[in-house]
Symmetry: C2
Subunit: 333 residues, 2 copies
């Protein structure tokens, strides 16, 4: 559990895209985002108050979150002074970079001296169990994609927001670095040892109130040969009551695999649903989430209408429309 | 690569079952099994020459293999004298125990002093790549099970033997501890980090002669919720040209999961084949391997005949009959 509120460190991010992690925190957990800290030359601006370490600390900030992905994932020397000063002031640090905080001797030393915690969210810190497959109380929903990176995390976060608006009980369950930094906890599933993948998802989504929904962040795709095993572990460890199909309609081949075409939404449904029913025979497909970012508004709406008709399921773009119709489909289950 | 030939250390194995790993090496790689070393009270006997460390070393033994699974997977003090003496004589050590050789300070020290290698085959020693999905030359066959522990490794080893007898080119590709100790190399798949599972299988089964078969050791089951992700990574990383369905007909529920029933062989076929065709559209199911150990001879033969008729595929028990018919099915592909 990463302590909030956060001061978001944007460093010397060359452009807004490099600060995507910080932007996700600002968008989805605005209460956790007290302010931003930028170095000279920073090309990103989240529209949050610019604060020094001391100002944010005085305002209650607990953790300095590295909200920027720099080239190569390394912790630059330009950042070191800030990170060490933060530890000296009593901050914890949190990072999703490949280059781990814990591998930097000076940061480790400063953390030890000042009692701070270094959160490397890429690295599992729990000894997860092997999955036992026992039916858990409460309900769970998972987005499965025709491909990787089609908007599953965004869909899950938008669904969580829509369910809360409606007074439904829901919890977003992060399974990736960005999701973990946004919510402060979760399982970095792609870094878990094979034997414990499904068990880590069971651990992440324990027994809950009968009317509570865990919204599990999806990963990979059953049709993406590099990561499909992670996806199946999510389906079997998560034992979802509901699946959402996620798709990006303009993609010409599977991400990173030029020789692989995307499956149809029907093929995804017909593959994912029987596998999900191994763990939860009551599982249903409740809707389709389409990332229409590459389309104009009219084209996007036509695309959504066509998919809705073809699939016989609500089809929405959560970025354009919010995920209200998916929340209602879950409420009606 | 673990250097051969081996001296097989049976320690104080209470019964033959505890020496299953050593028995697998004797059965499948007899050329590698120079002799056995037993401590007082050992209840296992492989029928190999009993040899002292010095005798086996003089006869050319290179590695002392811990061929016994003791309770709790720990390296007992009763073994330590032997293991250290072996290192002093120039042996390497190999082990599949949970308790790693490398975590024992005295073994590490002796290995360093005498230049020996400690092979903990449970631990990956390679930085595997992320799978790239590129079509590789050569052919591959994989056994997929209705459940875990239904005889997939035995099937693969028997198939390898049958193919060699027929002059076909084949290589058994180990993905588990026992298989790695039997053949001296492989990938301990259940210990690989999630993101690299499929890539480790690609690494294990590289480009090869067009008429060469990799016989990939199966793991888990698509229907076993604890391990299904590992199985799908094998299917997508292995890009098999042929699948064999493996089954144990008397099992009443999935191994370790009392609330889960086994799928039918047809359900297994209809689930595994479309998934395999994502990575290799030409993949075929070529036969069924049935573990009939719990049945009498007549009952076993009736069971095999019934499955053969129902599935329209050769159905054999490799333990009773060898895997010749499966080898022929592959040759006919």
């Amino acid at each position: 559990m990463i302590e909030t509120p956060y001061l978001l460190f944007l460093g010397d991010a060359p452009d807004p895209l490099a600060a995507k992690v910080a932007q996700g925190i600002r968008d989805w957990r605005p209460d956790s985002a007290l302010g931003q800290l930028r170095l000279p030359g920073c090309g990103a601006d989240l529209g949050l108050p610019d604060m020094s370490l001391a100002e944010a600390r005085a305002a209650g900030a607990r953790t300095l979150v590295i909200g920027v992905a720099n080239r190569g994932g390394v912790i630059s020397t330009a950042w070191k002074d800030v990170l060490i000063a933060a530890l000296e002031m009593g901050y914890d640090l949190a990072s999703g970079l490949h280059n781990l905080l814990r591998d930097e001797g000076d940061l480790v030393a400063a953390a030890q001296t000042h009692g701070g915690t270094l959160h490397d969210v890429r690295v599992p810190t729990v000894g997860y169990p092997i999955a036992n497959g026992r039916k858990r109380s409460g309900k769970r929903v998972l987005a499965v994609g025709t491909d990787c990176s089609v908007g599953k995390m965004y869909t899950a976060l938008a669904l969580d927001a829509a369910m809360r608006e409606r007074g439904m009980k829901s919890t977003f369950r992060a399974t990736g670095q960005t999701g973990i930094l946004i919510t402060g906890h979760g399982v970095p599933l792609d870094a878990v040892i094979a034997d414990f993948m499904a068990g880590s998802v069971e651990y992440l989504t324990p027994d809950n109130d009968p009317d509570h929904w865990d919204i599990i962040e999806g990963q990979g795709s059953l049709f993406h040969v590099s990561y499909s095993g992670v996806t199946l572990a999510l389906i079997h460890g998560g034992q979802p009551d509901a699946l959402i199909l996620s798709h990006e309609p303009t993609r010409t081949h599977m991400r990173g695999l030029p020789d692989y075409t995307l499956p149809s939404l029907k093929a995804l449904r017909d593959t994912a649903l029987p596998l999900a029913r191994v763990a939860n025979p009551a599982c249903q497909v409740v809707g389709v989430s389409v990332n229409t970012k590459a389309l104009g508004e009219d084209e996007a709406l036509r695309c959504l209408a066509e998919i809705e008709k073809r699939m016989g399921l609500p089809a929405i773009d959560p970025f354009r429309q919010g995920a209200g119709r998916l929340a209602e489909a879950l409420a009606a289950l």
